[in-house]
Amino acid sequence: MTPVPDVVVTGMGATTPLGGDLTSTWNAALAGESGARPFDNDWVERYGLPVTFAATIKVSPRDVLPVPELKKLDPSAQYAMIATREAWADAGSPEVDRDRLGVVVSSGIGGIWTTLDAWDTLREKGARRVLPMTVPMLMPNSPTAFVSLELGARAGAHALVSACASGAEAIGYAVEMIRSGRADVVVAGGTEASIHPMPVAAFAASRTLSLRNDDPQAASRPYDVDRDGFVLGEGAGIVVLESAEHAAARGARVYARIAGVGLSSDGYHITSPEPSGDGQIRAMSAALKDSGVAARDVVHVNAHATSTVVGDLIEARSIRGLLGDEADHVALSATKSMTGHLLGGAGALETIFTVLALHDRQAPPTINVDKPDPELVLDLVRSEPRPLPDGQIAAVNNSFGFGGHNVALVITSA
């Protein structure tokens, strides 16, 4: 029997509230910058939005993509395309067998700008003005489909949807595609472009957004006692995954290994995480078991931690519950403090941050934690990046989504 292939990361790309590419994004994260900014439009006055800011994309696709692509791609697909091109180039733009190349790019919300723009057009101008590209742009598989067209990928193009866990679930599925022998190379990740007044109003209605309108950059503050909700973000993170054998054969640079994938569902509530953290623990435990990594080798966790009052502590207790005393030497980072919450893009961007933390041997900071929650039972990396140990090390990236979706990825150093 053929052994199950190891899966390695050989390319990465991103466009985020912190930067138009991965290097600028990572440098801004290490420097502890915030991507949150006030809306530069009339939405607040026009619609009475209770939230007046978000972590909007740093570099507009209008400055990057040609006009025909701007017109044919929903913003969620534009972000995915920009990040894909960077990731593919970063992997060395390899010549690969297209029948062995897969794509898994997810979005949590889908093409909501296209949907709502088309609805506006229909109401204002009638059916004859609705553009023929509307459906291919709004469908939630649009980003993965356009990426598959870009690369000519023919092993399969998928878009798993699990709200804020979508990006991580996409990477997990991509790992399984390689392990099961369906593909040698898979381009995977997540994207989101839902900073439109309707979703802002709707998230605000669910009382999940921070209302710190007087200080947007301090609004996302996971594990701080004064946290009051998440900051809506947008952008994309994309990785190129390969079987270790395929990467070695072409002499590719390997950043890290995706060693374990763990999935679970709470079966509890449509928006609230199950209070005991049982579902989260089962996902992390499954990922650790899948990876063969011992709890004592986990030195870093990139937490899902969105800056909500309840969610942050449930996750912290879950990590402690799973790792026990071994959690004492875990450097915990909550990078949404800087990026805001990229929803379907979050799990992918945070996987990339986790890979870079292992690769560069430094855990990124968590900003705005002026007074750590006394119930936080873990060692949080605060204002400065923290060095990580030499040798073989492992890290966990958690992503949880509305609906009770839990995804944990175990990543090991190259």
């Binding site: 040609p66 006009v67 025909p68 017109k71 101008k125 004859r128 003005r129 609705v130 553009l131 023929p132 590209m133 291919p136």
Partner: protein
């Protein structure tokens, strides 16, 4: 106000250019939408939808198949103006 054929050609060239990325000066009356400009049926319907709005005309679906060249489209739009 009716548009002249020259104005229609210029406006159409702008729409085609934004749809395809081709320079506006390559959108000439004798060019075939499919053979020269490589426009597929979905793109053609996008161009038709945008042209209808821009020139305030209706281009019936049955008519679209007769618009082989840019010049055909210009002539049809010119004639369809109220």
């Amino acid at each position: 106000m009716a548009y002249t054929e020259q104005e229609i050609l210029a406006g159409l060239a702008e729409i085609v250019s934004e749809e395809t990325g081709l320079p506006t000066d390559s959108v000439l009356p004798e060019k075939s939408f499919t053979d020269d400009l490589d426009i597929d049926s979905l793109s053609m319907m996008t161009i038709v939808t945008l042209a209808e709005e821009k020139f305030s005309v209706t281009i019936p679906d049955d008519e679209v198949k007769n618009l082989a060249t840019v010049g055909d489209a210009v002539s049809f739009i010119a004639g369809a103006q109220a």
